[in-house]
Symmetry: C2
């Protein structure tokens, strides 16, 4: 089979003006970035304000193997399949981060015959959103250190700065650094570190902001650290909310591209699904709902992380209500959850699939708790055995969950038609979406609700630091925010080794942080990596470009 980049480069794309025209977008409402990418700005959003919304469909997944389970691929293929059914459907995805492209994972624009294109641009700089977020983040950091250097009138305690620098690169050497060395002209020495840009609070904010005004207010509210008197210091105290917002004036606008089969896809924003909420932007989702009768979107990692946050943070904040949820499962991931080692996943083992099925059951049961019809997609991989697929099918039949095999990776939209039919049917069922918990509850109760109801924990334990932080957040009057739990994506629990459907465990919360601009509390359960590293032989060593600009090795 051809590589992703080979397939992508063979695609004859529609000019973006034509694609936009098919959606009823006028040429002057489009900011083109080359001939096949464009930004959709405020005038379009304003014009469509009173149009009724389409149906919102969320694609999520079970706990994955380290290689991922093709959630984005399924989302893209499902969108294409909807189009094959004659439905007016817009896909709304996260945009990829540059860092992982050069690391292990490669691109993040779908795969095989279910990709968004131009995939090489989307995986590289795209329309510059990630760079704008990085610059906005780092302007705040430069202003904080400069404030201290220039006499520190606010009295910022250099030991209590919580807002870190950001770079869109997998660079472990930047995780823990000391800045400000070199003498009195070169700053005040202090400990610092870099996050990968998708982990920046700026990314989370961009993805939750309604418009420029809301964006500027949220930026002003970012907590950067504390004074020597332990009083909070916000970005607005540094008087740079306007300048930081300026850097995001284009990044706030959603990006329009197309799938290999010419379906419209809006790619915008991409926060981490552990320390942030893991979904594309509210503006993109809302716009997709105005432009399409259906909007298919996805959220990062498994349903315990991405979907829970999509439902409890994003939908709550934006007043969105999904009409259906698709849970993607693969035979490989079920075998992994059933205890098979990474190296042995290619071997036929229906027993291991059976052993892993409780993981799928948990995700399906969890999603049903939100009052939204649930559909399962078995994402087909070339090496799957019929005996294994039969195990999954039996389980789904027993649970009464509608399901379809999806083979969009090798067939494109044609491989997802059955799934699309189920999704359309589910969207007609009466929904009564409600978030899992009331945001007004005490912090511990909110964390407890997610831990018990979604993760299956018996209880929650807090470090004394976490308890102190929760009291501080209460004192700041921000304990009424929803909670974003940061934990491993490989398990329903906070221990990546507890596969399947762990029970009776206690969630260990080490730290509770205030993402004051984004508007959620981050509870850290486990060591969460916010700056990845490169592997022994990075993907960068395979990537090349010839004198005619033809790229190879991107996958």
């Amino acid at each position: 089979m051809k590589s992703d980049i080979e397939i992508a480069l063979e695609c004859e794309m529609k000019p973006i003006v034509r694609l936009a025209g098919e959606l009823g977008i006028k040429e002057e409402e489009l900011e083109p970035y080359g001939h096949y990418k464009a930004k959709l700005g405020q005038p379009l959003i304003d014009r469509l304000r009173d149009r009724p919304d389409g149906k919102l469909v969320l694609v999520t997944a079970i706990n994955p193997t380290p290689a991922g389970e093709g959630k984005t691929t399924t989302t893209v293929g499902l969108g294409e399949a909807m189009q094959k059914l004659g439905k007016n459907c817009v896909i709304a995805l996260r945009e990829p981060s540059l860092g992982p492209v050069f690391g292990v994972k490669g691109g993040a624009a779908g795969g095989g015959y279910a990709q968004v294109v131009p995939m090489e641009d989307i995986n590289l700089h795209f329309t510059g959103d990630m760079h704008a977020i990085t610059a906005a983040n780092n302007l705040i950091c430069a202003a904080v250190d400069n404030h201290i250097q220039q006499g520190n009138p606010l009295g910022i305690d250099p030991r209590r700065i919580t807002f870190k620098r950001a770079m869109d690169m997998n660079d472990r050497a930047l995780r823990n650094i000391v800045v400000g060395l070199g003498g009195p002209l070169s700053g005040v020495p202090r400990q610092d570190g870099f996050l990968i840009s998708v982990a920046s609070e700026i990314m989370a904010i961009l993805c939750l902001a309604d418009d420029l005004k809301d964006l500027k207010e949220r930026i002003g509210r970012i907590l950067v650290g504390y004074t020597y008197e332990k009083e909070p210091v916000y970005v607005r105290d540094l008087e740079i909310s306007g300048a930081v917002t300026c850097l995001l004036k284009d990044a706030i606008n959603p990006n329009l591209v197309q799938t290999l089969e010419g379906s419209p896809a809006i790619l915008h924003g991409g926060p981490f699904a552990n320390i942030a909420h893991g979904c594309n932007s509210v503006r993109a989702t809302r716009l997709a709902l105005k432009l399409g009768d259906y909007c298919i979107t996805e959220a990062g990692f498994g349903s315990d992380l991405g979907a829970e946050k999509f439902l409890d943070i994003k939908c709550r904040a934006a007043g969105l209500a999904p009409s259906a949820i698709v849970v993607v499962a693969t035979v490989r991931a079920l075998k992994y959850n059933g205890g098979v080692k990474k190296g042995d996943l290619a071997l036929e083992d229906p027993g291991a699939v059976r052993a892993g099925l409780p993981n799928l059951q948990a995700h399906l049961e969890n999603m049903r708790k939100y009052g939204v019809p649930v559909v399962a997609a078995i994402n087909h991989f070339a090496g799957d055995f019929d005996s294994e697929v039969a195990e999954v099918a039996r389980c789904l039949d027993e649970m009464g969950v509608p399901y379809a095999l999806s083979d969009v990776f090798s067939q494109g939209g044609a491989g997802g038609v059955e799934l699309a039919q189920l999704v359309c049917r589910a969207c007609e069922e009466p929904g009564r979406f409600a978030p899992l918990y009331d945001a007004a509850l005490p912090i511990e109760e909110k964390i407890g609700a997610i831990a018990r109801e979604i993760y299956g924990a018996a209880g929650v334990e807090y470090t004394s630091a976490a308890r102190q932080q929760m009291r501080q957040i209460e004192q700041l009057g921000r304990d009424d925010l929803p909670v974003c739990i940061a934990k491993t994506q490989y398990s329903l629990s906070d221990d990546p080794k507890k596969l399947g459907r762990p029970r009776g465990f206690t969630l260990q919360v080490k730290e509770v942080r205030l993402s004051s601009g984004a508007g959620f509390l981050v509870a850290l359960a486990g060591d969460i990596m916010t700056m990845p590293g490169l592997p022994p032989r990075p993907a960068a060593c395979q990537i090349d470009i010839d004198e005619d600009g033809r790229i190879t090795g991107l996958f």
Copy 2:
């Protein structure tokens, strides 16, 4: 008078497709970035390959005050004035760096009624070139540290890594840092630092590369450090030349915008004029020469830095020959060179102007040494006194240098017509351009030629470190490269306090570095700041954006 951003936002710009059409560029040869910016790619460059070149005009300046003397403004206004004379003229400028926009200097897209637009976009992310350069730089750094982390097969000595990280931000706290802290999973601790992105060798390379092939080869040749055996380590040894080049596939293409009066301007690249060569890209200049009968370009700082490097590095490397050189002088800068303090520059003082004139004379005499006709422009500021201007005029008359008053800041092109006429006349004079020195000479002789002929030094002194570095460069067989001297821009000498026309001084060379990919040697004379800091009240505090996206405070 209105602010720069107010003037810029009032401009009714031509759609970029129309501007390009006026230059004979077809729509499919254009990569639009919004409606008023576009990239010009290889197909256009290839189509115009056999077209005869226009006349190349370089705009340079005397030693400036810390506020700068309006070189870019004069360049833009001169281009507009040429258009008023009915000449087909294309302006070729450097693109601004984001960092200084938030610091002291503000924007760098001209000023008053001689600006390039959309100025707010040009000063913010523009078409993403700076971000692409930053990412390319930092991919190399991540790969170096990862190589060491993963067992270090090349034996890179962490104490001898010479290639630093980059960020497009004024952030002094990043000048000297320690990376790789936090234990065995987070890298190997070592000293490092960040450059502002314009100081990255990637920027210099982008500006000298002929095409993608040349770019990739140059990137492969970048020296990143040395092994424990003191053997050089190049980017190609890390096998990432292709991936780094991929990141620059769009950045290598020049950007088309327009002036306030609708003249075409190509903005592309902007390396520092001290540790790098300070001019826009070779590709942009070549393209402007194909598209226009005249190309007006500029080079950073005074003629001792920018022009010398333009002529001895860029023109030599690219086979370009300027037809005329414009030296910009201001009454303010002459008074500053005549010994007046910064705070007193607004007071009438023809005697101080007279005292500063030897500086102007030196720059004019220096430029004449290259065999190119020289014209002087007296860039008018609102507070100039006639008595002061008369002093400058008398000096130029005595030297037999054609000159004109230029008032493009407040009048646009109309304020530069007389200058444009002089420039056109100068371009008809027979030129016999030759670089100052033969690149095949020993390194000391090349440095000596610039020091004596251009700076007016009596001699050059080297530290023992510099001597050792020169011997090392000879051993690597790279001593045949031209020399890029990094020194202060405020004096012809290496001492910022020696204003006017210092004589008899000895240039102190502390260090000689190999910019192996760019293809020049950097001789450091004095402490050169490669990462600026923010002032006590950064420009960022004035910059704002309202809910309709209207920006204020950019200047």
